[in-house]
């Protein structure tokens, strides 16, 4: 099966800078110093060089041993807990582990390359296909088996078997039905539309601190706040749709795209969830009034109804109708009139529906 022929030169192609004269001798010194009898293609190493290499390999293995021992010692010596201690432990463990692995690898490589003989063996390939007789035999056997089983003859059995299998094939998918609730219309609403327990409209509170916002206190034009619904400050599910950007404008800065009925004293609230794929659009450039989503650079003009001025988002950030309660705090007057966040199949042309309703 394995035929081995001799190839005196290295079969490996050496890189060589063009322009230098080729040596007459082969590039790899394959001079069989002590050619073994009867093993063609296996070229032994120079024993003097091999002895030198042996010492190097032994040294590398010794380093592996010491590094390995050092790894175990580091585990005992260096405790973790603080950032500094973790860093030291990481350095000691990782450093010794890497040293152990690399010196062992280097040792083995030197062993193979400088002590073990070089090889230039040849093995025959054989075509992958089976011979014709075998193919014929397999085909015949297969047909014979099909015949014996009656799968071909009994049409009724064959068809009802396929029929029987179909629902079972779907079973794994059916089993997954309990994974999640059905979407229903939940993507269309946010918690801004729900009144609080005592029936009052929901206040806007500052993200992080949970402070309600008195309209009179938010009086610096160009100001921006990240805002969440009162009572849902920690609810990630609610925040994923209901987070707002609150902006303060001078009245003359607001353009026609913004619904002025939904602002209060130049304060405008937009959904913070980008209409592209839902990242929070968190960057704001005061001078241009541009809101930028850092994920994919969709840019919205906050002064003009947050319409898209650049990037892959196809729809403006929905505006939330806001007003103040009797204590002067900002509240949501109702839910968004269109679904917030990324587009989905059932969304339809929600903006057009709103326009139709209004007219």
């Amino acid at each position: 099966m394995t035929e081995q022929n001799e190839f005196p030169e290295s079969g490996r192609v050496q890189t060589r800078v063009l322009g230098t004269p080729p040596a007459d001798a082969p590039i790899v010194d394959t001079d069989p110093v002590h050619a073994p009898e009867g093993v063609p293609g296996v070229i032994p190493q120079d024993p003097v060089k091999a002895r030198k290499a042996e010492r190097l390999v032994a040294l590398l293995f010794l380093v592996t041993f010491l590094a390995g021992a050092g790894f175990i010692a580091s585990y005992v010596i260096f405790q973790v807990g603080t950032i500094d201690r973790t860093a030291t432990s990481n350095l000691a463990l990782g450093g010794t582990l890497a040293l152990a692995l690399l010196s062992l690898a280097a040792g083995l490589t030197v062993w193979v390359r400088r002590i073990m003989p070089k090889y230039n063996l040849v093995q025959e390939r054989h075509e992958m296909r089976s011979d014709d007789d075998t193919r014929e035999y397999v085909q015949e056997t297969f047909l014979q088996g099909a015949d014996e089983s009656g799968f071909v003859k009994h049409r009724l059995l064959r068809r009802t078997l396929l029929l029987a299998a179909a629902p079972l094939g779907l079973a794994p998918l059916v089993l997954l039905k309990d994974l999640g609730p059905l979407p229903g219309t939940s993507l269309r609403h946010t918690v801004w539309g729900e009144p609080t327990k005592d029936g009052k409209p929901r206040r806007l509170v500052v993200e992080g601190s949970g402070q309600p916002i008195r309209a009179a206190d938010f009086n610096s034009p160009g100001g921006i706040l990240s805002v969440v619904p009162e009572g849902y400050e920690e609810d990630l599910n609610a925040l994923a749709k209901a987070t707002l950007i609150l902006l303060k404008f001078r009245p003359e800065e607001l353009k026609s795209g913004t619904n002025l009925n939904w602002t209060h004293d130049g304060i405008v609230a937009y959904s913070k969830i980008c209409t592209h794929v839902g990242c929070p659009a968190a960057l704001y450039e005061q001078t241009t009034h541009h809101i930028l989503c850092p994920c994919h650079q969709s840019t919205f003009d906050a002064a003009d109804g947050a319409k898209v001025v650049f990037g892959p988002a196809a729809r403006p950030l929905p505006q939330l109708p806001i007003g103040i309660d009797e204590e002067g705090y900002l509240v949501a007057k109702s839910d968004f009139d269109v679904p917030v966040g990324p587009s989905f199949w059932e969304r339809g042309d929600a903006e057009a529906e709103v326009r139709e309703k209004a007219s």
Partner: protein, 543 residues
């Protein structure tokens, strides 16, 4: 040779009596493996995968894949008392309270990056050398499956720690799922257990990440190896290497030890990276909340091209019979991946269709010797590369002071123009390199030795190339072309008469025609005398 020691004969007899392993070993122990540096690329991927399995198992001992809210009371002071998910808290616990935990986390992450990188570069090697050709098409397809699954595995793993950065990736995943027509919302609700982010997605990703995909990966990797073993490795052209043989070193002991050492090298380098190159410092990002994000959020490198595609795409959304179809998400999320993966999977069969070549191939091509294939490959790499680069356009913009929108516009143009330019340049380069080869064969190489002629003229001596180089060049194979579309009487065969048949004939002609035969050495008249070949006497002067 001495008689083998009893300990070995005893065990081997015991095993062989029961499973007859001797027959298998007789055939395989001295299996020949050819040598070329590029054959190591796949091994890097394989060894990274093994490291992933090892470190991943370590991490599962402490990781808690839950989204239940907990208050962090661990050792990392800056986050003490902060509310977060169990997943994030346990990832911090692994990082700061488990000895070696941080190291294993970082090695795991680095190995994941290297796993995909190794697979990608290995795949490019196989592509450019034509090693996917018959009989290896099946293994090529398994490779594409492996790569696709690895991307999915990376995405699920990246999301598990539930930090601010991984959450941003998850949010984008959600947006992409929602954009899928008809079933998108249902898919999203079923995967996340309700509205985003829900409470189930981390634990579901965990099952997928540590059980389902690794299981399939392991099975496919095994199949990949078995096929490689059975079909034997390809080899680069060279002296004594034919389609019917394999030239190289035997599996036992040389290749085995080399491979073992290379595993240790790979592990060692990844351990170095894990030690010295900090990666994914989740404690700096903080727990995930859908309301926050940091500028410069980037996915791991292998997802960069999808991120770039999302960034490049202009806004485009239509209303279709009362339903929203958002092409600005659908196209970038599905089309580039579809083009790359489908194109790769189909390529061996398309090439076969165009060339009509149904022979077995075991000697690899040098990329220059199949200029159209190489140009197609580089063109594809350019397509991928531009998307990948644009996945970091905010970083490019910030670091090189280029306007952000300019980078996007550059990408929108370059994604169409770039691959075409790359195709043309690559094709020309291949032809140029082939000419150089032909010249080296017929004309020799410049020796750097100046000779003075009797008439006082100085010439540079050219010497014939070294034998191994010459053999390597002579390994060039003609690319087959479909049999002439016309028979002797000018009537094309039936199959070539349809529009498709004519297209196929034209493609075949363009793909296969050899513009630079090896005999084409540009021997102008008198050129020989100008440089003077090397005579027997000149040789001596050289040494």
């Amino acid at each position: 040779m001495n008689a083998p020691p009893k300990a070995i004969t005893g065990v081997s007899t015991f095993v062989d009596d029961r499973i007859g392993a001797g027959n298998f070993l007789k055939r395989n122990l001295r299996k020949i493996f050819p040598d070329h540096w590029s054959f190591l690329l796949g091994e890097i991927a394989l060894y990274s995968f093994i490291i992933l399995l090892l470190t991943g198992t370590f991490l599962t001992f402490w990781f808690k894949p839950g989204m239940a809210e907990t208050t962090y009371t661990g050792n990392y002071a800056p986050l003490y008392g902060v509310k977060m998910s169990e997943a994030y808290a346990s990832a911090l616990h692994i990082s700061f309270d488990i000895r070696g935990g941080l190291l294993m986390r970082q090695i795991h992450h680095w190995a994941a990056l290297l796993f995909v990188a190794g697979m990608t570069v290995h795949m490019l090697r196989v592509f450019f050398t034509g090693a996917y050709r018959k009989p290896r098409e099946l293994n090529w397809i398994i490779g594409i499956l492996l790569l696709s699954l690895a991307l999915l595995e990376g995405l699920t793993g990246y999301s598990l720690p539930d930090d601010l950065l991984s959450g941003a990736g998850l949010r984008i995943t959600e947006g992409v799922m929602l954009a899928i027509p008809i079933v998108g919302t249902y898919l999203q609700f079923f995967l996340f257990g309700g509205e985003y982010p829900g409470h189930d997605v981390i634990s579901r990703f965990y099952s997928i990440h540590i059980l389902l995909i690794p299981g399939i990966l392991l099975a496919l990797v095994t199949a990949h190896m078995i096929l490689m073993w059975v079909q034997k490795h390809t080899q680069m052209p060279g002296k004594g290497r034919t389609e019917k043989n394999v030239v190289g070193a035997p599996f036992y002991p040389a290749f085995m030890i080399k491979a073992g050492a290379f595993f240790l090298f790979t592990f060692g380098v990844i351990a170095l990276l894990g030690t010295f190159a900090q990666i994914n410092p989740i404690w700096l990002f903080g727990p995930y909340t859908p309301a926050d994000i940091s500028a410069g959020s980037q996915p791991d490198w292998y997802m960069g091209f999808l991120e770039g595609a999302l960034r490049l795409m202009p806004a485009w959304e239509i209303n279709f019979l009362g339903h929203t179809v958002t092409f600005s998400v659908l196209i970038p999320a599905l089309v580039p991946l579809g083009i790359v993966m489908t194109g790769l999977a189909l390529y061996p069969f398309l090439e076969q269709w165009v060339t009509g070549d149904r022979r077995e191939h075991h000697v690899a091509d040098r990329p220059r010797n199949n200029p159209h294939r190489t140009a197609i490959g580089i063109s594809g790499m350019t397509f991928y590369g531009i998307l990948w680069l644009l996945g970091a356009n905010d970083e490019i913009s910030a670091n090189f002071h280029i306007s952000l929108y300019t980078t996007t516009w550059f990408g929108r143009v370059a994604i169409f123009v770039g691959p075409a330019i790359a195709y043309w340049i690559t094709y020309r380069m291949c032809i140029g390199l082939q000419r150089k080869d032909a010249e080296v064969l017929s004309h020799g190489v410049e020796s750097g030795v100046i000779k003075r002629m009797p008439n006082g003229q100085y010439i540079e001596i050219h010497t014939p190339p070294a034998e191994d180089i010459a053999e390597h060049i002579r390994g060039k194979k003609e690319i087959p072309v479909l049999e002439s579309a016309e028979d002797g009487e000018g009537i094309p065969p039936k199959s070539a008469r349809s529009a498709l048949g004519r297209l196929r004939a034209k493609l075949s002609e363009a793909y296969g025609t050899d513009h630079v035969p090896l005999t084409d050495g540009h021997h102008e008249e008198g050129h020989e005398g100008e440089h003077a070949g090397v005579g027997a006497g000149d040789r001596k002067e050289l040494h």
